[in-house]
Subunit: 397 residues, 2 copies
């Protein structure tokens, strides 16, 4: 049984506890919770007590939580700005780290994470749930089986209309509001970059070499606030630095390109925009379809007829992780990709195995944020991506 | 009745004559045809004679065609490399120019076109048929009526698997083979850039300021040739410089971004990838759908249910040009967007009106090719886009 402390108990932390962690009663116990705000600490304590029968320790100071003997591992589910400091403090105290996703603020964040891990060898996992998404894993499985041929190009996006969430206003204490006010960057790259990195063998024979970022003007949030929150003087007075659509093109050592789009402040449907393009075929999330040279050339001009055909490939190509998950659903599998990523973390710690998404993966993906900010500041100039592995990315050769 | 000469009578030229021009018997007469290859000249002459009853003049020297008194206007449908020289020669002789699309080879191509037009005032039209595409025009109409709010971001693509066409081999004399062998650039930007330029008011209060281009490795053609044409020693020995997927991000004076993708040598379905993103809604070609703030928020997480819903908007937002076209179809409207763009050209000349896609539009779109080539050569560096209007782009203010 793993004793877990949770740092950050607002929306995401609270939700993960309620929907996943507190249901994994055979693996983990929540022994401590922490948030900057006392009301959130109390809510979290109540939740844990209700669901587990035991009142956990509560604090507004994460150092207090980390110092406790009854905390073996921490889940970091707080504001983006605190992910790295909390993770570093935890590793130094030997507390296994599972951190929620987000971008770095400076490249030095990434180096500090890597160096702290290398010094302490404390287990570290980046909780990129989309690496465990059903279609993402099927696409990975198909790529690994060679169905797409040589993979040449991938796209991904965080296509999620966050206007309502961001403009709840200051009293909602959401970190996105201040981030969208001040920064202008690809602030959330990892949801599709994670799965794509797997497909392109990043840190396993390949690496990302450079990027260039273009950003549109920022018009969506202000329009939304004018239409829906014109009584909120603080919101109405804000100028948002964050452009509405941020397009980052990344080039890999082995010649592949990746296009990542941040698309969160204009009306749209939710989509992670995955596409995987190879010399023999493709997968595309927007139309949930698979196009293969051997099967679909006759539909080339009328693809509409095949929209949604990815479902037909699940029998053959569903990833083993999802096959097992779906088979066990009736027996109590929890939370889809959130459940899968958290179980992968907890199982690694409990069984003393390496974490499947390690610190080198984390920083390879998180660094896109400050580098995109630099590229934007420099008018779209290409920016080099550091090799945080210092040569270990081709260690298996 | 307009007397027309056709320069370039291979696939595109032959097809346009047969399917459109020779059917417009009330507007135009083909009096002369030209191609580098005598067999193509003969085939074209035969076609014109069969369909119109009159044998046109035939030549392999375009200067001979341009010099003729019975040629008032030329259609330039030859290889990309000759579009600009033929157009300039024609304008100098006062022959109205309708030129097929393609990119420039150097920025100076663009300046020469502009300067020749400004000196001669010979009518010039860029025959970008996709500006007359049905959905492209509906999206334009919706944008002009404010349905999308303030437009912030657009995407477009030439998503067309050309592997078979390109690898017919040398004996097929197709210009794409040599272009894909030697160049590495966004070689065909105008199909969606044209419609997007209309939506973003390029040259009418807005202009494109800079671009940056990223390119994947070139793997698709070689794989295809290995699998399908391994007996063609010439093809097998070629190294293709042209990367498979070329992503160009363009930033406009008024803060909008455009992403254009060239995607022609990997398996895929045909798609021009149009999306129009505004503060109130979007149109997306891949799913042929319209998402509006006022109507679709409840479908945000399950957009599948609305795939293809653009059809529901045709009653209200079909562009007047297409409304008229569809109403007349039974009475003899020809060739969809090809027919519309050619009629727009012929009618302008016959009625002495300005051409709807003028030389400034043409060069604004064609220049993307050499500038993308420069950006790629410079590792993705941002490259400035000239103002070919020298300030006239905001003349209406």
């Amino acid at each position: 049984m793993l004793n877990v402390g949770v740092v950050g108990t607002s929306g995401r932390g609270y939700g993960l506890m309620k929907d996943v962690v507190l249901k994994l009663t055979d693996k983990v116990k929540i022994t401590a919770v922490c948030d900057l705000y006392p009301d959130r600490v109390e809510d979290a304590q109540k939740l844990v007590e209700e669901m587990s029968g035991v009142l956990p320790f509560g604090t507004t100071d994460y150092q207090q939580l980390l110092a406790r003997e009854d905390v073996d591992a921490v889940l970091i589910t707080c504001a983006w700005e605190a992910h790295v400091p909390v993770a570093i403090a935890a590793m130094r105290l030997g507390k296994a780290v599972g951190t929620e996703v987000g971008g770095a603020y400076d490249i030095e964040d990434c180096w500090d994470l890597v160096k702290t891990y290398e010094e302490t060898k404390t287990p570290f996992m980046f909780l990129e749930n989309c690496c465990y998404g059903r279609r993402e894993m099927m696409a990975l499985n198909m790529a690994e089986q060679g169905v797409f041929g040589e993979v040449v190009h991938c796209t991904g996006a965080y296509g999620h209309d966050l206007r309502k969430e961001i403009s709840f206003g200051k009293e909602n204490r959401h970190y996105r509001l201040r981030n969208y006010t001040h920064r202008n960057c690809e602030n959330y790259p990892t949801h599709e970059l994670g799965p794509i990195a797997r497909i392109l063998h990043i840190n396993d024979g390949n690496r990302m070499m450079k990027l260039s970022t273009a950003v549109s003007k920022a018009a969506g949030l202000h329009q939304y606030i004018k239409d829906n929150k014109s009584d909120d003087a603080d919101l109405m007075s804000r100028t948002f630095n964050q452009g509405d659509v941020v397009t980052t093109t990344i080039t890999c050592a082995n010649g592949e390109t990746i296009v990542i789009t941040l698309d969160t402040t204009l009306p749209r449907y939710y989509c992670r925009g995955l596409s995987v393009r190879g010399t023999k075929g493709m997968y595309e999330e927007a139309t949930d379809s698979v196009f293969l040279d051997d099967e679909h050339l006759e539909f080339e001009a009328n693809w509409k007829e095949k929209w949604g055909n990815a479902e037909e490939y699940t029998d053959k190509y569903e990833h083993p992780v999802w096959k097992e998950y779906l088979a066990n659903e009736m027996l109590g599998a929890h939370g889809g990709m959130d459940g899968l990523v958290l179980c992968a973390f907890f199982d690694s710690i409990i069984e003393g195995k390496p974490c499947p998404i390690d610190v080198y993966d984390a920083v390879a993906w998180m660094c896109i944020t400050p580098l995109s900010e630099q590229s934007i500041a420099l008018g779209g100039a290409p920016v080099a991506i550091p090799d945080f592995t210092r040569g270990k990315w081709y260690k298996h050769d």
